[in-house]
């Protein structure tokens, strides 16, 4: 390859260089390399395939009573949303929705606190850190259904009742915590230890350093961990299936609906749960932006 290029002579090499310069990573205004257009097309197709199917079920959930599972759209009404919350045959959607939100709230708080503490611990090497790290990876990659059954059996052997706020809470945490700690690793790696040392030099106690220096600086990262905690719990299925006891969470309700219900109320449920997810994502991303904006303003005004 190199031999061939050298054989072309210096002039050809220079020409090639200027040509490839144009097609380089930060090319001039003149134009983009052909690969840009190919990749842009692939990216667009990916985004269309990512959102297209979801959007189609949101549209189909607004059909009237004649509606079916496929296009074309039959009428326009809120019939299937009404059906979802009133019909008995679709199960206890309202109750499961309630439980899912409460459970996700619990999981979020615990995930943020525990991941933050673990993140602090993992900044230094300590005796046994590798073992714990791999324990976490194991908990993350282990098949969820298997862990769920194991937890169910464990509770059974100990004579405890499984319930969404005990066994399912723990089972979900075994999945959200490793995730939260990994996100915390990424957040902590951008934390400059000099700030912490400065606080200590100025006479701050360890607790003051955490409360007044580390937490405010890491706030956007902690919001990100909270967002992960909430959404991973709110949509969790495999680990909850065998641990939620007699009362369902929302994903379990959706799962039983996919097996029994063949009407657009399934899509209506999809629309409702996605609206909730989008609200949460909006709150999460919105508060990260807000914190960073306020910080930028404070930084500019404070000097």
């Amino acid at each position: 390859m190199t031999m061939a290029k050298e054989a072309l002579g210096p002039a050809a090499a220079a020409r090639r260089r200027s040509r490839s310069r144009q097609g380089a990573l930060a090319p001039g205004r003149k134009g983009r390399p052909w690969t840009f257009y190919v990749l842009a097309a692939i990216f667009t197709l990916y985004v269309v395939a990512l959102y297209g199917p979801m959007i189609s079920i949101y549209i189909l959930s607004f059909q009237d009573i004649r509606g079916g599972l496929v296009f074309p759209m039959k009428g326009l009404s809120l019939h299937w949303f009404n059906d979802l919350f009133t019909q008995v045959r679709t199960g206890d959607v309202k109750g499961s929705f309630d439980r899912s939100i409460k459970l996700a709230g619990l999981v979020t708080v615990i995930t943020v606190v525990v991941s933050f503490l673990a993140g602090l611990a993992f900044r230094r090497r300590f005796f046994g850190d590798t073992v714990i790290f791999y324990l976490m990876i194991g908990s993350l990659v282990a098949p969820g259904l298997v862990l769920g059954i194991g937890t169910g059996l464990l509770f059974n052997w100990l004579g405890l009742e499984t319930a969404w706020y005990t066994s399912a809470l723990g089972a979900q945490l075994s999945w959200t915590l490793p995730f939260g700690v990994l996100v915390m690793f990424a957040v902590m790696s951008r934390f400059n230890k000099a700030w912490e040392e400065a606080a200590r030099d100025l006479g701050a106690t360890p607790w003051q350093t955490i409360r007044l220096v580390i937490i405010p600086i890491l706030a956007p990262g902690l919001v990100a961990v909270a967002l992960f905690g909430f959404t991973l719990s709110y949509d969790e299925f495999a680990r909850t299936l065998q641990t939620s006891g007699s009362l369902n969470t929302l994903p379990l309700e959706i799962w039983s609906m996919t097996l029994n219900v063949t009407s657009p109320s399934l899509y209506a449920l999809g629309t409702v749960t996605t609206i909730v997810s989008f609200l949460i994502i909006g709150i999460g991303l919105g508060s990260i932006t807000l914190i960073q904006k306020r910080r930028a303003r404070g930084g500019a005004a404070g000097h």
């Binding site: 673990a118 714990i132 908990s139 862990l147 464990l154 052997w157 075994s174 700690v181």
Partner: protein, 287 residues
């Protein structure tokens, strides 16, 4: 002093262990124990020590077929999500020049990750079904004369649903490693006369290795541990290891299900271990 430092670290980690021990370590030990027990045939467990569950597992031809089916879905999903995820991440990292636009497009890719996987899966029904949009469009165009039945409730649908759900697990870590590549290295390579292919082969791919490894761990472990997508999207046509495990549990065959779970988990851990050998992920994440 150093002892105190170690103790503080452990103190900060204790809440994590309070969750991981009862909800990861103990359940796995319970499953391991149950795999050596005997079933009384009525859903109860007889506390003995027997290897008959494993013997049954390894002598049944069904096991081999299940593993092959699961492996097929794992490899196909891994391959397609890697290619797609790599290209998308490359586009975002190297071709989008405006950083704000880059963040916006990146978020556009990640938002669906935070919504329900089950809903995203069933949302393929109006598109892939016998009377779905794709079949209707192909019929109108005259490319086919009767609806394609292999689109929904088939292996194709399973792979589509997996790739749809899991490509994001490739995009995020690969984008993360690509964003760390110093653009001047690539410029220098261009000046030295490297071709596009050389840059890809000698710079971009080696430097995205940790992202690729991390994404592969997620994709492989999720597909191997899943039964839901296979059950719904194959329409009962395909089985998976965890699906069979779930069937066993629903007829209260705990010991044989436990044996199969142990074998699956060991196989999965070996696979993940092999991937981890190629890269020190702890250093990569904390860097």
């Amino acid at each position: 002093m150093t002892l105190r430092r170690h103790l503080t670290s452990w103190l900060f980690l204790s809440p994590l262990l309070v969750v991981l021990i009862p909800f990861f370590v103990l359940p796995f030990i319970v499953v391991l124990t149950a795999s050596f027990f005997d079933s009384d045939g009525f859903g109860g467990l007889l506390p003995t020590f027997t290897l008959v569950n494993y013997a049954n597992l390894f002598t049944s031809s069904l096991t081999l077929n299940l593993y092959l089916a699961t492996l097929k879905f794992t490899v196909l999903t891994w391959f397609f999500s890697l290619i797609l995820g790599f290209l998308v991440a490359y586009f975002l990292a190297f071709h989008v020049r405006n950083p704000l636009l880059g963040i916006g497009l990146f978020l556009l890719c990640t938002v669906p990750f935070w919504t329900s996987n089950i809903i995203r899966m069933i949302s393929w029904i109006p598109l892939l079904g016998k009377e779905g949009l794709i079949n209707m469009a192909l019929l109108k165009l005259g490319l086919i004369h009767e609806p394609l039945e292999i689109l929904l409730f088939s292996s194709v649908a399973v792979v589509i649903a997996y790739v749809h759900q899991l490509t994001i697990f490739m995009i995020v870590p690969i984008f993360n490693s690509m964003a760390r590549i110093d653009k001047r290295v690539v410029e220098a390579a261009l000046d030295a006369g490297a071709s596009r292919l050389d840059i890809m082969r000698l710079i971009v791919i080696p430097m995205s290795k940790s992202g690729i490894a991390l994404g592969s761990i997620f994709v492989v472990s999720i597909v191997m541990g899943d039964f839901f997508v296979v059950k719904v999207m194959s329409g009962g046509g395909s089985a998976s290891v965890v699906g069979a495990f779930y069937e066993d549990i629903s007829v209260l065959q705990y010991p044989s299900a436990a044996a199969s779970a142990v074998v699956l988990t060991v196989a999965l851990m070996v696979l993940i271990g092999l991937i981890l050998r190629t890269v020190d992920i702890r250093r990569e994440i904390t860097r």
